[in-house]
Amino acid sequence: MPSLIAKTPLEGTWPVTHGGLTLAEVELTRVTSVSAPKVGRDLAAGLKALGVSFPKPNQFTGFDAVRMVWTSMDQAFMIGGDPSGLSGAVMTDQSDGWACLRLEGAGADQALMRLVPLDLRRDAFPPGAAARAPLNHMQMILMRLEPDCFELLVFRSMARTAWHEIEEAMKSLAARAGLV
């Protein structure tokens, strides 16, 4: 029986580096929207078993294998993790609707502040912080994993635009650094 080949939104795009910043696609295996007006015992226990808890606004819990990021009122996206054991919430699959990009290096926040109208400096947006905010003219979910490392999600169909605009910001910053 033939099987269908799966492709990531930016399949085949290699990471790029400019001026000490690197941009790369991160493959998303599974993303689930979890929506609950109240996080009951069952839901909390189910999430705990996966290594996460329901995040407060503007933050994410968990880190590598399973992460949960706040996305709206009473709603969070679980990135990674199998939702089939969860109950006490309305769940919707979002695994294929998003592209994930990682930007890392010293000054990553300066590059993003070309496109994101938020205060992304280290103290204002520390590791563990998340935000629903625009990336230029696109909807985005932004997370700071480490002082010099961000991951962001944009719509699959807009992945190329997001990649291009972030790369342009990286190049401009690198060119500025070349000026003495």
């Binding site: 503007n58 996305t71 938020l118 905010a133 625009p134 696109m138 909807q139 985005m140």
Partner: protein, 98 residues
């Protein structure tokens, strides 16, 4: 202009979609007279001063806000989540029932 979203914090105006006056929250009953619908849909005060209007945090948390601001001084006096206001007449619930 920067608008304080109760969930996301104060954000640039461009993250929001402007709908109009908070009159839109006063949905008349289905059988209300035409004048009530005219008021909700079309008739507006136009104050030079404090006004309250509805904004959607489109590239943020997708919540609707009722923002109180002064159209003369541009001061933003406060904002609340529409969902917290629990507006809407009983007919909304009646209408949905079979």
């Amino acid at each position: 202009m920067r608008i304080p979203c109760p969930l996301c914090g104060t954000r640039d105006r461009r993250e929001f979609y402007y709908y109009g006056s908070d009159d839109y929250l006063n949905r008349p009953a289905a059988d209300a007279p035409a004048a009530a619908w005219d008021d909700m849909l079309h008739n507006r005060d136009n104050p030079a001063g404090v006004t309250r209007d509805l904004w959607y945090h489109e590239t943020g948390c997708a919540q609707w806000l009722a923002v109180t601001r002064n159209t003369v001084t541009h001061e933003i006096l406060g904002s609340e989540l529409v969902a917290d206001l629990k507006t809407g007449p009983k007919s909304a619930r009646k209408g949905g029932e079979k």
